[in-house]
């Protein structure tokens, strides 16, 4: 017996040697999705930006922790009076990680490449307003727009608009070379991506020596990885409901921030019976947002009544328009001649907000007589069936792009919503630069969407971040999907 104990203790000692021995300037950070490749200018996957944005690649401008536009490779800029010519003054002495110099030629190359006809940039719309890009001198670049665009500086801060070098542009997918404070070291496919501090960085040096992005595919694996100390930080924790259980643990800091993700129950507006206003309104009345938020996001989400983030200046609170009211919902269904209810499908993409929320919504709609069949789909199928072919009744998805209310005016968008009045407002909006007028227009747009009950507006997706209590400097909110590590450091 004694022998056994000795052996076990010895084994424990051997096993534990080296588990917690990491240098205090190293960071292991968890991400859910593995990027398909490492070139932010050639793919829409948010996972690419989660690793590389602000860390390895930089653009002319960058987006700050609260969604503000900050200077990056451009130290300053001038805008002509007609709002069409932007002249950027670039930082000098900037080097790419391969040792080559950065200058205005690289900017011209990057922007021309992104907006070329054969470009595979996933956000070509960002560059649509650009008419010409001219190199004035190595430290100055002049961009002329076809028409004034109020969001241009913001657009240039996207991950899709980062500056790459002509020499390495073709190989960035495998071996990214940028100008940022970290340079790429290694990508163990399916496992992790490692960045190390760049010694030649032009800006303020970072505190971390090494950052390993470890791919932890789901909440089930993320919870024990955090609890066991294998991973120090999980800024985008995949499942808010399960992060709640680490809240009382003094080893961790749980930070709930805002995202730009309007989580909605999307409705196929052309498909009967959803083409009828009463039916869509009945669904809105049948939804109990509190139960959905409590059940799918541990009570952390902020309810919304239209397609706008509550953090946005233009936000109008419309959550009172359709309070949870089963009787009213049944009445509306009766008016629509559907007093016996009907059957429909609910296609759910993989994220927990959709899968958990879907079960709750199915149960709530059953209470008013709508019998939903839950169909779980992978993203590939969702994109194909729901988004492209519009072969769906209902689905749940979080629209994480900022300021994206215009999607309801897009022709052929998957909501199948068509309202000329709304389209007119969006068209006016793009031509209006007066701030007050814009707010009014955006308010009207929100009201129309709510009145039409285009979709079931649920809540603003919370960003549940959790990290070691000894770490600081992470973004609390998620204006864009990025893990900016430039300010992250260990406090002891």
């Amino acid at each position: 017996m004694k022998l056994w104990k000795t052996i076990l203790t010895a084994a424990a000692l051997v096993l534990s040697a080296g588990t917690s021995a990491f240098a205090a300037r190293d960071l292991v950070i968890g991400i859910t999705l593995e990027p398909p490749h490492l070139d932010p200018t050639a793919g829409a996957a948010a996972a690419i930006d989660e690793v590389l944005y602000a860390n390895v690649f930089e653009g002319l401008t960058r987006i700050g922790p609260n969604g503000e536009v900050l200077p990056a490779l451009a130290e300053s800029w001038m805008i002509s009076d007609d709002g069409k010519v932007y002249t950027f003054k670039l930082h000098t002495g900037v080097k790419f990680h391969d040792g080559t110099d950065f200058n205005a030629d690289d900017v011209k190359f990057s922007l021309d490449r992104a907006r070329a006809d054969n470009s595979v940039n996933a956000q070509k719309g960002l560059f649509a307003a650009i008419d010409t890009v001219e190199v004035v001198d190595p430290a100055t670049i002049k961009i002329t727009l076809k028409n004034p665009q109020s969001s241009f500086l913001y657009n240039m801060g996207w991950g899709d608009a980062v500056i790459v070098a002509p020499e390495t542009a073709a190989t960035n997918k495998e071996k990214p070379v940028g100008t940022g404070p970290f340079r790429f070291q290694n990508w163990a496919k399916g496992s992790s991506i490692t960045l190390i501090k760049s010694d030649t960085y032009w800006g303020a040096p970072v505190s971390l020596d090494k950052a390993e992005f470890r791919i932890v595919p789901d909440a089930a694996a993320a919870v024990p990885a955090l609890l066991s100390g294998d991973i120090h930080a999980f800024p985008f924790f995949p499942d808010p409901d399960s992060v709640a259980q680490t809240k009382d643990d003094p080893r961790f800091k749980v930070v709930i921030g805002a995202t730009e993700g309007e989580t909605i129950l999307s409705i196929n507006n052309k498909k009967p019976p959803f083409d009828r206003l009463q039916v869509r309104q009945a669904i809105s009345f049948a939804l109990d947002r509190k139960a959905i938020i409590d059940g799918a996001s541990a009570g952390l989400g902020v309810p919304i009544g239209s397609h706008m983030s509550p953090a946005n200046k233009a936000y109008v609170d419309l959550t009172g328009l359709y309070p949870h009211n089963v009787e009213k919902a049944k009445e509306l269904l009766k008016e629509a001649g559907l007093e016996n209810g009907f059957k429909a499908t609910l296609k759910l993409p993989p994220p927990p907000y959709a899968r958990l929320g879907g079960e709750i919504i199915a149960s709530q709609l059953r209470d008013v007589g709508i019998d939903l069949q839950i169909v779980p789909v992978e993203w590939a199928q969702w994109l194909d069936q729901v988004f492209t072919k519009k072969d769906y009744d209902l689905t749940i998805v979080s629209h994480t792009e900022p300021n994206d209310i215009d999607i309801y005016s897009r022709k052929d968008y998957y909501f199948n919503y068509d309202n000329p009045t709304f389209d007119k407002i969006i068209a006016d909006l793009s031509l209006t630069s007066d701030e007050a007028k814009r707010m009014t227009l955006l308010g009207e747009a929100q009201k129309i969407l709510a009145d039409d009950a285009v979709v079931g507006f649920l809540y603003e997706l919370p960003k549940a971040g959790v990290w070691d209590a000894k770490l600081e400097g992470f973004w609390e909110n998620a204006p864009i999907q990025a893990n900016d590590l430039t300010k992250v450091k260990w406090t002891e």
Binding site: A220, S242, T246, A291, D294, A362, S363
Partner: protein
Amino acid sequence: MTLRFDIPEENFADILVKAFTNRSFLTGFAITIVVAAVAIVSFFWTPFDVTRLIIADKTQAPSPAHWFGTDHFGRDILSMIMVGARNSIAVALVAVGIGMGVGVPLGAFAAARGGIVDEAVMRLNDLVFAFPALLSAIMITAIFGPGALNAIIAIGIFNIPVFARVARAGTLAIWPREFILAARAAGKGKTLITLEHVLPNIVTLLLVQGTIQFALGILAEAGLSYVGLGTQPPMPSWGRMLFDAQTRMVAAPWMAIFPGMAIVVTVLGLNLLGDGIADILDPKSRRQR
């Protein structure tokens, strides 16, 4: 699992006596009956309604009201396990049915015909066997969409060669027997002989294999549901319950413990039952006792 092909030649009373003195059989039988009873009761009564989500009651620890606690949607875990039993049994039973229904005729036919037909059937078997069952089940459910029905089909397909092999081996062992020769001499056709003489004699073999495959089916369904490809909500399933539990192991360990135990007990019961039947009907094991 090796099976022996001797045919018992004893009367029913002897078998009954042996059954009641066989520990494996008794334990397995008792567990199986209890699980089946729970599943049947769930059709008429469960402590709570499993289709109603009461978010306010989420993840409550076991208590006199909720013996096994509640899950993340406030549903009673005991009630869900009861309904889940029904689901597990249904999936495994149909999958075994598919395996037997297709595999036994194939195997018996191949053995009776021999030659090219036998060869073709066995090569087809090889082909199915070459695909690791779980991998293929995941592929099938990924292509045709997750769901109980596709899980049944996926599991069922991989039961076919198993039963075909057992039926073929059993048939081959019986075919040279005198009573078969007599029947052939009397001018009976192969199909008739297979139906009248061969099948009744390999039924016990199939029964034993059936319980084994039944148990494997329950594990397979749990595995598929666990990776999200089996039974879909709102229908409760044991594997699905474990899937939901895994992210809440700290806050609500009971969500993982009780469904896991339900699977273990059920599979254990079926395996014991299968062992017991094999023991009782197998003359070789009698000799050893």
